[in-house]
């Protein structure tokens, strides 16, 4: 009797269980929705989360496996970011998007030791683009050094290829992030003969009178900006105040969102920024996001950020993570993934124009080919310009390449120095 009862219970349990449930694919989001940089952190975090929600709601996940986003608030603070990493890595985290250069620098050795990939998309340590040295760090589709070179290419284009004797100022956040492009710009200044003027701004950048008085006196032909948060808004406002021509003021992709130009109002008209992805919400993917995520009340935020620059960037980062997960599933013939398999997927990631069209993102970004040697991707970028009257950004040229001769040499030099310091043997041979 007892045996037959046990048999029934066992049979019922088997029926209820059916095929064992697949574990979620976990994508931690080291976000910052509070603090001085919260305004910038919210749209990115919303875009990142909403894309995975879209995949779950519309497609039933990634190849049938639910994608799970674990948010951890860093407040854009490096120490908190590391704490977030430590507290979430045991949850089955497949890839980290640290969303801060400071946090990225801290995670490079930790995540490498833990075997978890890091995707510092368009930020972090530029020389991590060398996959021979940085096995677990990826910064595709472009790096800060690509950004600097693409901006200089744009300036060259505007000046018929000759910028000899021109003066280009760099207004930069006085931090590891802000200092990243200096080395590249110094090399490009030697190559093209322009004079480079360095203008640091201390954190947080709320007061920049000295810097803009200096710019006003020295009259550079162009001003480039590597800023973040309030530094961007104040710089654009000060530039407008001194009547610096806005079409000669070009920011990196972290200095080119709607938030940055809003306080200057009409004064910001014509301001430019380099970007590695499309702008606006005129892509089919956004209709899906509105239909499956926003209108159903499943959006990560208020749903009012869809189509803004930083939302699009977060969404793009999630799309690249999802595509890398698909690649990993195919490579390893499995639906559940480990961080090591995810890393393999990221290293073999290929997103061509046809796939972008399938994803509802035709023309949103350049084709991406990641390899063992190249973790930085294509390094292409376009220039976006702000129209204050319409309140929109528009791309004013095609996605173009950086000066690979200069950039690749710098990446090699820096990454080899890092490898020597840390006794890292080269891979990919």
């Amino acid at each position: 009797m007892k045996l037959s009862k046990l048999a029934i219970v066992t049979a019922m349990a088997a029926m209820v269980g059916g095929t064992p449930a697949l574990a979620d694919l976990v994508f931690p989001s080291l976000s910052y929705r509070t603090g001085p940089y919260g305004a910038n952190g919210i749209p990115f975090a919303d875009g990142y989360a909403d894309y995975f929600t879209l995949l779950n709601e519309r497609d039933g996940g990634i190849n049938g496996v639910n994608a799970k986003v674990i948010e951890c608030e860093t407040g854009y603070n490096t120490q908190k970011g590391v704490e977030c990493y430590e507290s979430t890595k045991g949850e089955g985290a497949l890839v980290y998007q640290p969303l801060s250069t400071g946090i990225t620098y801290q995670l490079i050795p930790k995540a490498t030791a833990d075997g978890i990939p890091v995707h510092s998309m368009g930020y972090g340590r530029t020389s991590a683009a060398n996959g021979k040295v940085f096995s677990h760090v990826f910064n595709y589709p472009g790096t800060y050094w690509d950004a600097a070179s693409i901006i200089v290419n744009h300036i060259l284009e505007e000046n018929g290829g000759d910028v000899k004797g021109k003066k280009i100022a760099l207004v930069y956040h006085n931090s590891a992030y802000g200092k990243e492009p200096i080395r590249t710009l110094e090399e490009l200044s030697k190559k093209y003969g322009f004079e480079l003027m360095l203008v640091p701004v201390d954190h947080p950048g709320q007061e920049q009178k000295s810097q803009w008085l200096q710019i006003r006196r020295e009259r550079p032909d162009y001003v480039l900006m590597w800023g973040w948060g309030v530094m961007n808004q104040v710089a654009i406002k000060e530039a407008a105040n001194i009547r610096f021509p806005m079409d000669k003021f070009i920011g990196v992709w972290w200095s080119g969102s709607e938030l940055d130009v809003a306080p200057a109002g009409d004064g910001a008209n014509g301001y430019k920024s380099v970007t590695f992805h499309g702008v606006g919400d005129d892509f089919p993917i956004f209709e899906d996001i509105k239909k499956h995520v926003v209108d159903t009340g499943k959006a990560a935020g208020a749903g009012d950020q869809v189509g803004t620059v930083l939302y699009n960037r977060g969404m793009y980062a999630a799309m690249l993570a999802a595509e890398a997960a698909r690649t990993a599933q195919k490579m390893h013939d499995t639906k559940e993934l480990t961080p090591a398999q995810m890393r393999d997927g990221m290293e073999a990631l290929k997103v061509d124009a046809a796939r972008m069209t399938e994803l509802g993102l035709a023309g949103f970004g350049p084709e991406i080919n990641v390899s063992c040697e190249n973790h930085g991707g294509p390094g292409l970028g376009a220039i976006a310009q702000w129209d204050a009257a319409k309140g929109t950004w528009s791309l004013i040229n095609e996605f173009g390449p950086a000066d690979r001769g200069v950039i690749d040499a710098l990446i090699m030099e820096d990454s080899k120095a890092y490898a020597a310091e840390n006794n890292i043997p080269e891979r990919c041979s």
Partner: protein
């Protein structure tokens, strides 16, 4: 005149204007410290909260809209077209007075006779609460603020001063932001009003009595709690003015709370208990850091003004530990 000399004058003038902006923030600290001995860590967040409320009322933003929409499934973001600027400023002031009442009722009254460090810790808690509350109430996006004050460089000054330079020299005129000029005028009016209030009104005298000696003031029937509400309300008003001026520059955003950092060297230099000290301290720090950035900065790679401000303040401390105008503390054993 040589362009170099004109540039020097321009740097000094801009330093003075910036100093006024710092002094606006420092004033709020001084008012509360003078009346209650509390170093109000939340002063910067109060400026942020006041500015957020002002923009919210000006633009007709629905407070707590995220919370309301998430709870009731609605899609409400605005209650109307918004209030005219003057009315919005008055309403914001009313909100700051309510806030002062609440702070007294919920926090301060329970901490009477506690050590200053306990009161300081309470204001740290208040700062975090107010920041989160402001976020919940008005959202975290960057909000442009326009109260009708002129902004941008003065064309008139540029034109006039261009002719002062030696003929043939490359000089583009002197630059002063008209918003800074407005801030300076408002600060002067504010200081005069505060001085008249504290010298010639009964409440002002009571406030000074409390500042001098809590026990003595209580013994002659002055209500410590009423004085605290009044002083926190005035401080809320000063925070509103600072929030407007700084918010007009950068947009109203959460980094506005960091302007408190700019007030610290001013307070160290001017003293924590003196209104003129806050103004003079602000001017010295403003001019000092701008001159340092212009003339020392290029020699050491720039970005020296933040630490230079603290260096100046510390140098003053060596000679006058109580600050320029602070009260000398003599304790006899």
């Amino acid at each position: 005149m040589s362009p170099d000399f004109l540039n020097f004058i321009e740097t000094v003038l801009n330093g003075l204007m910036t100093g006024v902006m710092y002094a606006l923030v420092a004033l709020g600290f001084v008012l509360i410290f003078k009346a209650s001995g509390i170093f109000n860590f939340a002063q910067g967040v109060m400026a942020l909260f006041a500015a957020l409320t002002l923009v919210g009322l000006q633009t007709g933003q629905m407070p707590f809209s995220h919370l309301i929409n998430a709870t009731f499934g609605t899609d409400i973001h605005h209650w109307g077209p918004g209030l005219p600027t003057i009315l919005a400023i008055l309403m914001t002031m009313a909100v700051m007075i309510v806030l002062a009442f609440t702070i007294e009722k919920v926090v301060l009254k329970h901490l009477v006779n506690q050590e200053p460090i306990i009161l300081f810790m309470a204001t740290i808690g208040l700062a975090y609460f107010l920041e989160g509350f402001g976020d919940l109430m008005w959202g975290a996006d960057v909000k442009p603020l326009d109260v009708g004050l002129p902004t941008g460089g003065s064309f008139w000054l540029e034109d006039v001063t261009t002719s002062w330079a030696t003929a043939g020299s490359e000089y583009y005129g002197m630059y002063i932001d008209t918003l800074d000029v407005s801030a300076a005028i408002i600060a002067i009016i504010l200081v005069i009003a505060l001085t008249i209030f504290s010298q010639y009104t009964a409440t002002g005298r009571a406030l000074r009595a409390v500042a001098d000696d809590h026990q003595a003031a209580l013994s002659v029937g002055i209500s410590l709690r009423s004085i605290w509400v009044i002083v926190w309300s005035i401080s809320g008003f000063v925070a509103l003015v600072a929030g407007i001026m700084w918010g007009a520059k950068s947009g109203v955003q959460f980094s506005l709370s960091l302007i408190a950092l700019k007030a610290l060297p001013v307070l160290i230099l001017g003293g924590f208990t003196s209104i003129p000290g806050a103004i003079v301290g602000g001017l010295i720090i403003g001019v000092g850091e701008k001159l340092a950035e212009a003339y020392i900065g290029p020699l050491v790679g720039g970005a020296v003004e933040n630490w230079f401000a603290y260096m100046v303040a510390l140098a003053f401390l060596l000679f006058r530990p109580q600050g320029l105008y602070g009260e000398k503390i003599i304790e006899r054993i």
